[in-house]
Each structure stands twice: as structure tokens, then as C-alpha cells.
């Protein structure tokens, strides 16, 4: 015992030292950029980073699943796929070859509920080649909207849905949860990919109308990060500046939803072999103070908080907690899983008990501090890559009006206290505001693995 005292003292002194010697903030120039708007309304953000001669080109079209007609879920995603099928100037094969021969990496498109993004990383010397391709995509993809292309795209997207949702354990349940959280026709209801029926129903006129309505320079932002060549602005003027100005349609308003009572669903999980409890609550919007509190709470629970608060539960559940941040209203998700024979009601009790204790302030100052520090470090770590930087510049510009909102963003996290975490749970993670989904494996569990 005697030998422990100096060790303990040393540990305490070291921890105190850490608290006193808090690290300085991030390099204030880390997201240094220039921003301007072309005559046709395209917003351009240029962010020089000279580490290696690479450039990331990231075009965002400000339209996503939440902007679709409510009976046409998946249309934004289908249109994203169609824009890879060529233009009136460059066919799909030529585009693919140009990317391949340029050594392009991290080439992709992505659709979310709120945006559609196209990104690629290339040698800095091939920057103009990418501007040539991306400007053509933004301005001339209507030629790709043919019945034959749409048929093929529908097949691919249907298989994307089958792969990511229908054959991925618990993925379908998570979407069911997001559907039950909102009323019919709400913009955030469900997932951007749509059902197989909706995917199969998309028609060329609908896709064309969607493209013409939203894929216009005044509804897009172009971010370039990396070792930008001196002529970058000149090339942007040439390739993007020559596109005509078209006024975009106003975006569909998404109102926050306030549930009036708890919704409980029961489902069979076709693939996963664990009993699981999934829960979701609507929470405050992206970049609010409470949104940061939710991130810290999720991190604190995942990094030992749940284990401590759940105590010696025989279930020993594995868990996932996540704040999914969106501009109008976010969602906080929880998932607890235990063995195939576990009692699902006992799992719900663990969740209720843990959240009850969080509401009562059971997460300690140390747990919240560590979670806060990790979330801040993770935010900074995301800025290591050009991809992380263009994403952040886009997000800050779109939702805060300032591409360099980093210091404010991190300040939100640094101000999170244990009291704020308890208050968040008490205000937003109440039983009557949640959707709860109780899942059991649908098939008998194969024998042979001793739990």
C-alpha cells in the first residue's frame, strides 16, 4: 500500500499538470481561404495547402433528399448517379478515362438529406482537367437523362440499397427508426435512398426536371483545397463562369418536429444475431450549443460511461450512441445489443436506467472532460486531409455563413459541462420524445460458438 502513495500522488500531479497546461487552440490560419461569387451565382472557396502537390476538387449542389417531393424519395440520389453517365460534350467512358489517366483518387459522389457532393483528388498539375469535367457535369448533364441510362441507374441504386441496407445487419431497423421519428411527408423522414419501389418508379421527366431545377451554378458551391496552381481562378472563370445564370427554386422548408408520445416498435432482425434495442430522439440543430453537448454525451457513454453507469449488468451490452446533426433538427441515436437469448425488456431497462442516471448528473467531470477533449481532437484530426478540409469549409460556409468557423465550433465543445450534459438528457432524451425499436433475431441462432 505504501508504494502506491507516491504513484497516486504522481498521477494526480500529472493530471493537475495537464489541466493547468491546456493546449493552445488550433493554428488560426488552418482554414485560411478566399471566397468569391461568380456572376452566374456559383460560390467559390479556395484553400491553399502546400504539403504535397495534390488538389482536392469538391463541388456541392445544395439539394438533397429533404428537397424531394415526399412521394419520390430517392430521386436526388438517382440524379447524382445519372450525372456520372456523361454530358453532351464528354461521354461516360471519356470521363472515366480522363479520371483514370489523371491518377485521380477518392473519386465519388454522395447524396445526403441536405446536399449532393462530388469530389476527387488529383495531382495539382491536373487541376484544370477536373474543372473541365466538373463544370461540364454541372452545366450539361441533361444529356445523360435517357430512358436507357435511367434503367441502368435504377438497377445499380436498387443494389446499393440491398447491399447497404437489406443485407447489412440492423441497417434496415435504423431506417425504420428514422421513419417512425417523423410524420408523413416530413423532409427528414427515413433515408435519402428510398424504397425499392420508389427507386423503380423514377421516370426520365422527373429526373430531368429535378436536374434542371437544382443543378445550376447559383445553387452550388465549389471548394478547392491543396497546392492550388497560380491560374486556378482563371480556369474557374473559364469553365464555370461560362455557365448561364439560372435562378434555383427555393429549398423545401423543414420544420422541427416535436413528438407528443413515445412510439414503440417491435421487429424481427433478419441478419443480426443479437437482441437489440434501438432508440431515437429529435434534438437541436447542427452547430447549436446543444448539438455539441450531444456529441460529448455520445462520446462519454461510449468511452466507458455506459459501462460504469450500467454497473454489473449480466447483459454486458455492446452499444452505439450517435448525434446525427442536420440543419433544421438533429437526431440522437442509441443502440444496445446483447446475446441472442437476452431479454429485450431487460435491455430497455439498462438503457432507461443509464439515461436516468445521466439526467441526474451521474457522468463525472472527468468523464465529460475526456469526452470533450477527444471530440475536439477528432475535429482537428479530420482536418489532416484535403477531403476533411473541403468538407468542413463547405459545411461551415453553408450552415454558418463563414467557411472558417472552426474556432467557434471548437469553443462549443470546450464549453460543455457535466451540468449541460445532464440538462440535455433531461430536456431532449425523455421517454415521451423517443421512438423505441425492439428487435430479435428472426432465425434460430446457429450453434457452435460458446458465448
Amino acid at each position: 500500500m505504501g508504494r502506491c502513495i507516491p504513484v497516486m500522488f504522481g498521477l494526480v500531479a500529472w493530471l493537475v499538470g495537464l489541466l493547468v497546461a491546456a493546449p493552445a487552440g488550433p493554428d488560426p490560419s488552418i482554414l485560411r481561404h478566399s471566397r468569391y461569387t461568380l456572376k452566374n451565382g456559383l460560390t467559390v472557396i479556395l484553400h491553399p495547402v502546400r504539403t504535397v502537390p495534390l488538389v482536392r476538387v469538391h463541388l456541392r449542389v445544395h439539394v438533397g433528399g429533404a428537397d424531394e417531393p415526399s412521394d419520390r424519395r430517392g430521386l436526388a440520389h438517382i440524379v447524382e448517379h445519372l450525372t456520372f453517365e456523361g454530358t453532351e460534350h464528354i461521354d461516360a467512358g471519356a470521363r472515366a478515362r480522363a479520371l483514370y489517366f489523371s491518377g485521380a483518387i477518392e473519386v465519388n459522389g454522395s447524396t445526403t438529406l441536405t446536399s449532393t457532393d462530388y469530389h476527387v483528388t488529383v495531382p495539382a498539375d491536373y487541376t484544370e482537367m477536373m474543372l473541365w469535367l466538373e463544370s461540364d457535369r454541372l452545366g450539361f448533364s441533361a444529356a445523360a437523362v435517357t430512358a436507357a441510362n435511367l434503367r441502368a441507374v435504377r438497377g445499380v441504386v436498387a443494389n446499393e440499397r440491398r447491399e447497404r441496407i437489406d443485407t447489412e445487419p440492423y441497417a434496415g431497423l435504423r431506417i425504420a427508426l428514422a421513419e417512425a421519428l417523423y410524420p408523413p411527408r416530413h423532409g427528414y423522414r427515413g433515408d435519402h435512398i428510398g424504397s425499392l419501389f420508389e427507386i423503380a418508379s423514377a421516370t426520365p421527366p422527373e429526373a430531368l426536371a429535378f436536374l434542371r431545377q437544382w443543378y445550376v451554378p447559383a445553387n452550388a458551391t465549389l471548394v478547392l483545397a491543396g497546392d492550388l496552381p497560380a491560374r486556378t481562378s482563371e480556369w474557374i472563370d473559364k469553365h464555370f463562369g461560362s455557365l448561364p445564370r439560372v435562378e434555383p427554386a427555393p429549398r423545401r422548408a423543414v420544420a422541427p418536429h416535436e413528438p407528443s408520445q413515445e412510439v414503440v416498435l417491435r421487429a424481427d432482425e433478419p441478419l443480426g444475431r443479437s437482441v437489440a434495442v434501438l432508440a431515437a430522439w429529435p434534438t437541436p440543430a447542427l452547430y447549436t450549443a446543444e448539438d455539441a453537448v450531444a456529441d460529448v454525451l455520445a462520446e462519454a457513454l461510449l468511452a466507458g460511461g455506459l459501462e460504469r453507469l450500467a454497473g454489473a449488468s449480466a447483459l454486458a451490452p455492446t452499444a452505439a450512441f450517435r448525434q446525427s446533426s442536420l440543419p433544421a433538427q438533429s437526431r440522437f441515436f442509441a443502440q444496445l445489443s446483447a446475446g441472442a437469448d437476452a431479454d429485450v425488456d431487460a435491455l430497455v431497462s439498462v438503457l432507461d436506467d443509464v439515461l436516468g442516471r445521466v439526467r441526474a448528473g451521474a457522468l463525472t467531470e472527468a468523464e465529460v472532460r475526456r469526452a470533450r477533449e477527444r471530440v475536439v481532437a477528432r475535429n482537428l484530426a479530420e482536418l489532416q486531409t484535403l477531403a476533411g478540409r473541403t468538407q468542413r469549409l463547405h459545411d461551415y460556409a453553408e450552415h454558418r455563413g463563414d467557411p472558417d468557423w472552426l474556432a467557434e465550433d471548437l469553443r462549443r465543445y470546450r464549453e460543455v459541462t457535466p451540468e449541460a450534459v445532464a440538462s440535455f438528457a433531461a430536456t431532449f432524451l425523455r421517454r415521451e420524445r423517443r421512438v423505441l425499436l425492439l428487435a430479435r433475431p428472426s432465425a434460430s441462432v446457429p450453434q457452435g460458438v460458446r458465448p
Binding site: I30, V52, P53, D91, R97, A98, T121, N159, D166, A316
Partner: protein, 470 residues
């Protein structure tokens, strides 16, 4: 370089489609005469009698990544205890105190650093990242963990419980089952490269805490370890710290690793019978000849061709898949390649026919010099990106360390990956990727799949058999 750049530009131009208006939009922009290539500075030195230290200098990185790479893993498993090394290292890295609080994770958390533990068949990487001001404290925590490893029965029981839970989940994960089954059918029993399966075997085997602790001490010696750093630091700044932090680490022998002989098997087909899936998972793969490590550029190109050909047929032409993925993993001085795709269950038989015919056609394919040249550009771009990102640079160097490759010239080698000969790629396509030599695994409903000609003689197994052995 200049002549070739001009040539591919012409190729892209020739492929442009017809159309009206803005004629200049049909013409690719003029290319620069030279392609600039640059890598961050990489320096390595030996810390006294202790481990090697390598630093990638990234002056603009907001964080510094720190890793301890251990080049010893499943090859040190006792024969009767497959997965023991992985379990022992994980238990050391994730050890808890008497109250059940994870020691290293909690201490790193005070610094904002995540605990990242990656234990593979050929070794382990214990890593984190922090803001530069906290590097010294983070380094001390990681080094203390490996210099004086502690392990108890509770930590081991926790690892075992996790592995058993994971094993249960794999039974319902079609893609994971397919990947494991290809390993099972390509490699001899208890081979280290079957680590995911070995972990699961560990779930059913007994390993005592004392035995695990002895094994961990045998693995965690300076001779097996390299300290890797990437971020806004220089080797001159940090070398004195590390000299101090590792002063008490006694150099000892790491013991003898077992050698595993691998004999490629004849191609065969296996159906993992899992019913009610919306998609069928198809995986095909096999071992290369000796002398084909995972970073062999000709192998990378051959795998890229195979993936591209199969994807073109299944996605563009048939529209029955979202995509095809390709992997290459080290197996001693060979590599294990694998292509995996998930296809609409209703189109399984057609997809299998197309897969076989595209790989057969590929084995007859002639490779042009320009095609080989372009893969060099892609490899360069990927490497430049990797070494410019602190966390990825550490991961890449750790992977090279575990493969036994020298680290000091890693970026030099990345800058000049070596010439690929078209004939070499053609040889690989003709031999290694010929469908009759590969292991084919299909996860789906056996009854309907048996209509496929290529599965006529297939062995049908239950999912649990993939975990228990074939």
C-alpha cells in the same frame, strides 16, 4: 513523361462524344509538361539499443500521430492456441484497473487522444493522435504500456467475451462469411493470415492469464518495435525524449517465430447456405506465386484490371450490383487476392456466368504500355496523399514495418515504385487470375444457386462451418 502525358490526352480527346455548342468543352485542357511529385520528409534512427524511431515531418498538420508498431503476432501463437498472441496483446493494451476503468484509454483520454489498437496476423499497431503540445505525455503512456506490460484474467476474459460476441455476429454477416470462407479454402488450417477466424477459435479455446502475460512480454521487445511519428515535429526535437523514455527497456530476444508453409490448392467452389437474402455475395480469390508481396505494382495493376472488368460487366452492363471490391493481403512472401461483390439474388446465376467469363477473357488480355504507365501515376498520387496525412503515414509505415520492409527509404520507394512490365501483368492475369485456379465462394440460398454451372460440383456448407473450419 512528357510524351506519354500528351498521348493520353489525345486518347481522352478521341473518346469525347459528339454534341452541339461550346466546342472547346469537348477538348481536354492542355497539360503541363511535367508532373510535380513531392513527399514529406521522412527520417529514421535507432534509439540506442532500443527501438527504431521514424518521423514524417508535416509542418501544417493540426495533430501529431504516434504509433508503436510491433512486428510480431500470430506466428508466435502456441500451436494448440490459435489467436493467443492477438488476445494477449489486446488484453495488455486494453487492461483495466481494479474498478474496471480502462487504464491506457482513460489516461489518453485526458490528452484528447483516442486509443487505437489494431492487431493483425503479422503484428500490432498501438496508436493515438494528439495536439502537438501533448505528444510527450502521449508517448510516455504508450511506451510505458509496452515496456512493462501488465495483463490479468479479467482483461483476458473481456477480450474473450468480445470475440465470442463478434463470432455470433459474423454468422449473420454475409460479406464477412464470404471473405472468411475464401481464406479458409485458400490457406492451411491455423495459418496466421486467417486471423479473423483464429480470433473466433480463441473464443472457444482456453488461454491462462499467466501464459498470456508471458507471451505478451515475448512479443513486446525493442527488437520487434518501431516508434512512428507524423506531424509538426522533427526527429531532432523528439529523439532525446524517446531516448529518455525507452532507457529502461532492456533489449531481449523475441523468441522464434514459426514458419508456415503454404501450398496453393486447386480451384474449387463452395456455397455457404444462408437463406432469405436480398443479395447473393460472391467472392473469388486465391494465392499468388511466391515473391509477390502486397505492394508488387504488377499485382496491384492485375487486381485493378480484374476488378474493373468484372465491375464493368456486372454494374454497367447488367446493373445487378452496386460495385466490386478488391483486396490484397500479405501471406508470407505471397499475397492473397480477393474480389467481392453482392448481386441481386434473382440475378445470381447470370452474375456467376459473367464473372467466370470476364476472368477467362482477362486471362487472354494484352496489356498496352500506356495502360501500365497510368497505374504509376495513380500509385504516386495515392502515396503522396498517404504520407501527407499524419494518421495514414503512421499506418502505412507500420504496415511496411510488419512486412519487414526498410522504413528509412519508404518515401523514396514510393516516389519511384519501379517499372512495371506489361508482360509481367499479362502473366499474372493468365495464371493467378484464371478462374479455374481460384477459390469461389458464394453466400446465398444453396437450392437456387446450384442451378449455376460453375457451382455444379460445389461443396455446400452451413455458416457455422466457416468459423469451425472446412
Amino acid at each position: 513523361m512528357r510524351r506519354r502525358l500528351a498521348r493520353w490526352a489525345a486518347l481522352a480527346l478521341a473518346a469525347a462524344a459528339c454534341g452541339q455548342g461550346q466546342e472547346w468543352r469537348r477538348t481536354p485542357p492542355e497539360l503541363p509538361e511535367q508532373l510535380r511529385i513531392a513527399f514529406p520528409s521522412l527520417e529514421c534512427l535507432r534509439i540506442g539499443d532500443g527501438p527504431q524511431l521514424c518521423v514524417v515531418e508535416l509542418s501544417r498538420s493540426p495533430i501529431v500521430a504516434l504509433g508503436l508498431s510491433v512486428s510480431a503476432g500470430a506466428q508466435f501463437d502456441p500451436y494448440q492456441l490459435p489467436g493467443a498472441a492477438q488476445a494477449a496483446l489486446t488484453a495488455v493494451f486494453k487492461a483495466s484497473d481494479e474498478q474496471g476503468v480502462p487504464v491506457l484509454e482513460t489516461a489518453l483520454g485526458e490528452l484528447g487522444g483516442p486509443l487505437q489498437v489494431s492487431v493483425g496476423s503479422d503484428g500490432a499497431l498501438l496508436s493515438t493522435y494528439v495536439v502537438p503540445q501533448r505528444l510527450h505525455d502521449a508517448a510516455r503512456l504508450l511506451l510505458d504500456t509496452v515496456i512493462a506490460p501488465t495483463l490479468d484474467a479479467r482483461a483476458l476474459a473481456s477480450v474473450r467475451s468480445h470475440q465470442c460476441r463478434r463470432a455470433q455476429e459474423i454468422l449473420g454477416d454475409p460479406a464477412m462469411l464470404a471473405s472468411l470462407a475464401v481464406r479458409r479454402t485458400s490457406l492451411p488450417p491455423r495459418h496466421p493470415a486467417m486471423l479473423p477466424a483464429l480470433r473466433i477459435q480463441f473464443c472457444n479455446e482456453a488461454l491462462g492469464a499467466a501464459e498470456a502475460a508471458t507471451l505478451a512480454r515475448q512479443l513486446l521487445v525493442p527488437a520487434h518495435t518501431t516508434v512512428l511519428l507524423a506531424g509538426p515535429v522533427t526527429i531532432d526535437e523528439v529523439a532525446p525524449w524517446f531516448r529518455q523514455l525507452t532507457a529502461s527497456w532492456t533489449p531481449t530476444s523475441g523468441g522464434l517465430a514459426r514458419r508456415f508453409e503454404v501450398v496453393p490448392r486447386d480451384g474449387a467452389a463452395t456455397i455457404v447456405d444462408l437463406r432469405g437474402l436480398a443479395q447473393t455475395v460472391i467472392a473469388i480469390g486465391g494465392l499468388t506465386a511466391p515473391g509477390r508481396p502486397v505492394d508488387d505494382p504488377a499485382l496491384a495493376l492485375a487486381v485493378a484490371y480484374a476488378r474493373s472488368e468484372v465491375q464493368a460487366e456486372l454494374r454497367q452492363d447488367l446493373a445487378v450490383t452496386y460495385g466490386v471490391s478488391a483486396t490484397i493481403e500479405p501471406v508470407g512472401d505471397r499475397s492473397l487476392w480477393m474480389l467481392t461483390t453482392q448481386v441481386d439474388a434473382a440475378a445470381s446465376v447470370a452474375a456467376l456466368r459473367v464473372l467466370r467469363s470476364s476472368l477467362s477473357a482477362l486471362s487472354q488480355r494484352a496489356i498496352a504500355e500506356d495502360e501500365v504507365f497510368t497505374v504509376g501515376i495513380q500509385t504516386l498520387v495515392t502515396s503522396m496523399r498517404t504520407y501527407a496525412v499524419a494518421v495514414d503515414a503512421v499506418r502505412e509505415l507500420a504496415s511496411r514495418h510488419r512486412a519487414g520492409a526498410p522504413l528509412a527509404e519508404a518515401t523514396e520507394r514510393a516516389r519511384d515504385p519501379g517499372a512495371i512490365e506489361a508482360a509481367d501483368v499479362e502473366r499474372l492475369l493468365r495464371t493467378t487470375f484464371a478462374p479455374e485456379r481460384a477459390q469461389l465462394v458464394v453466400v446465398g440460398e444453396a437450392l437456387s444457386l446450384s442451378e449455376a454451372v460453375v457451382l455444379r460440383d460445389a461443396r455446400v456448407i452451413r455458416p457455422i462451418t466457416v468459423l469451425d473450419g472446412l
